[in-house]
């Protein structure tokens, strides 16, 4: 068992949604006066608004992901499974 820990999954989720959200929001601001583009989305500048919501979601994920304490790589249950493997000879002891 190693003392290392795996990173919290909320960090990559936060990173992905913040990035996607920023790209969409900026694009939305740049294209907001293009009625042709937004005719199909009921005249809502959907890129801007939805991008903004994604940024907020991403930021929340980053916040909670950073606050979370690191989790151990193996759980007690995981180690018991390995012991069982060795006991019944499925795997050679190393």
């Amino acid at each position: 068992m190693s003392a290392e820990a795996r990173f919290d999954i909320r960090l990559p989720i936060g990173a992905l949604f913040s990035l996607l959200g920023i790209v969409l929001t900026v694009y939305g601001v740049m294209t907001r006066s293009d009625p042709q583009l937004y005719a199909r989305s009921e005249n809502i500048v959907i890129n801007f608004w939805w991008g903004l919501i994604m940024v907020v979601f991403g930021a929340l994920m980053l916040f909670f992901g950073r606050r979370a304490k690191e989790r151990p790589l193996h759980s007690v249950a995981g180690e018991e499974t390995e012991k069982r493997e060795h006991r019944i000879g499925l795997e050679r002891e190393s």
């Binding site: 795996r6 990173f7 989720i13 294209t31 890129n47 995981g78 499974t81 499925l90």
Partner: protein
Amino acid sequence: MTHLTTIDYVLMLVYFAVVLVVGWMLRRSTKTSTDFFLSGRSIPSWVAGLAFISANLGAQEVIGMGASGAKYGISTAHFYWIGAIPAMVFVGLFMMPFYYGSRARSVPEYLKLRFDEKTRSLNAISFAVMTIMSSGISMYAMGKLLNLLLGWSFDISMIVAALIVLAYIFLGGLTSAIYNEVLQFFLIVFGFAPLVFLGLRSAGGWAGLKTKLAEVAVGRGFEAGAMTHAWQYMGNSSQNPIGVEWFGLAMGLGFVLSFGYWCTDFLVVQRAMASENMAAARRTPLIAAIPKVFFPFLVILPGMIALAVDWHAPGTGGALAIAGGQGIVPPKIDPVTGAALLDQAGHVVLDYDLSVPMMLLRFFPSGMLGLGLTALMASFMSGMAGNVTAFNTVWTYDIYQSHIRKGASDEHYLWMGRAATVFGIALSIAAAYVAVSFNNILDLLQLVFAFVNAPLFATFALGMFWKRTTGHGAFIGLLAGTVAAAIHHGISLAAGAVPGVKGGYFGAHIIYRSELGQTFWTAIAAWVTCFVVTIVVSLMTRPRPDDELRGLVYSLTPKPSEGNVVWYERPTVIAVIVLAIALALNIIFF
């Protein structure tokens, strides 16, 4: 064909980059085979829960449920509200204690512990072949769709997607697959939610949608409410678009097929087995059920909306409108003549599988379109990844370790798991190309596996809850159930179908109103046969002593305690809440 702009490509690239970075960062925490195949059993339950539904959120769900929405209307929600949800609650409350508590590393391994080697091998081999096939079909569907919509090369889009999946599973194993499935889950929610919002707005809300779908229903020969009521027209199979009566629906879909899939399929159960402890494992399917109960609004509604809106908005691809379609759902095109296909009655056959992709093109401007397409690709990839991780585990533990090489070192099995990932993906690509040139072979194989799967839940239910069940009983019962499915399918036919792959090869003695009706009753026949034969054979063979069955059978296992956790973390509490929501939705959309 639609042209994407730079912004759409930027969004796709951001997603693929993050996916690969996650795989790369997880490579260091993957040192033993338990890490690779079971994530070291250290995944928190909310992560496992989201992966549990995401592994199943492949092409079949996103494209298929939208297609069914356009075909059957809100009745499609039965796949969730009486199908998946009760089954997920059942596996969490009653079956997880045996899967997780037995320390089995896979579902086939549980069968080995509970019954014997032959039952395990039967399950393992059919499962392994099936995962490769479904992953191949998922890739084929993606390549075809991207080619049709965007004009991308079929080969390149398929191979690039396969390489990305290969890279992240090879590096980080199940953890990497689970992390990416959670990413994909959120991406699909964020990609499709605005589609439903814009679509409903354009159709005039639920009331407007109801009015428009009433016309559609009448046009198809049903009563006005048939597309927007889930139960009202279920009394008679001729009155609802699914073509099934309530009993066949509740037993065939609700009980046999859904419990068979959600309770015994290693693809989903593997996610729960990776949980950090028993309580978390039991919570996994229950947590998964909470978003799942609302999924009909995300994946079925777009298909229904597609019938109710049109292309008449400035700037939308008017060129995409094809004469003869309904709403924005195009007709199926005869590849030879280029004209719309007609059925025997002279009605245009709609290409329902295009409902959801057409919705994306209709409502999303550049930018959002990139996000929507990324979500679509993510769903194809999570379907593929789920299959590949289940395959490499079953191959390594249940086939390689038990039949080819037992007692090797842990490094060897870890190596084998990575090798299995590579050849699993290579075989999937091969299966995708088989699908290109011999479509019927895959239809036939899928049919065979439907026969193998249908009786499975009878075997598990008896094995877990009746300690007298024997290995011979289970094995012979499974075979008998499979044969019963094949026979029932052979003597029945859906109205209007031609005998052959669709059934009726022993003569069409029973005629169902629809293929789904036939499928549901085939499953019922298989289940009942397996149940009865397993009991009879078990009573004639020698049972295993109680001592060997501790932790594997209900009556010989201490009841799992709910633990000292806050009320909202208790499995029974979550189960009651989820079932209450499902019941309420059934009533609202009655």
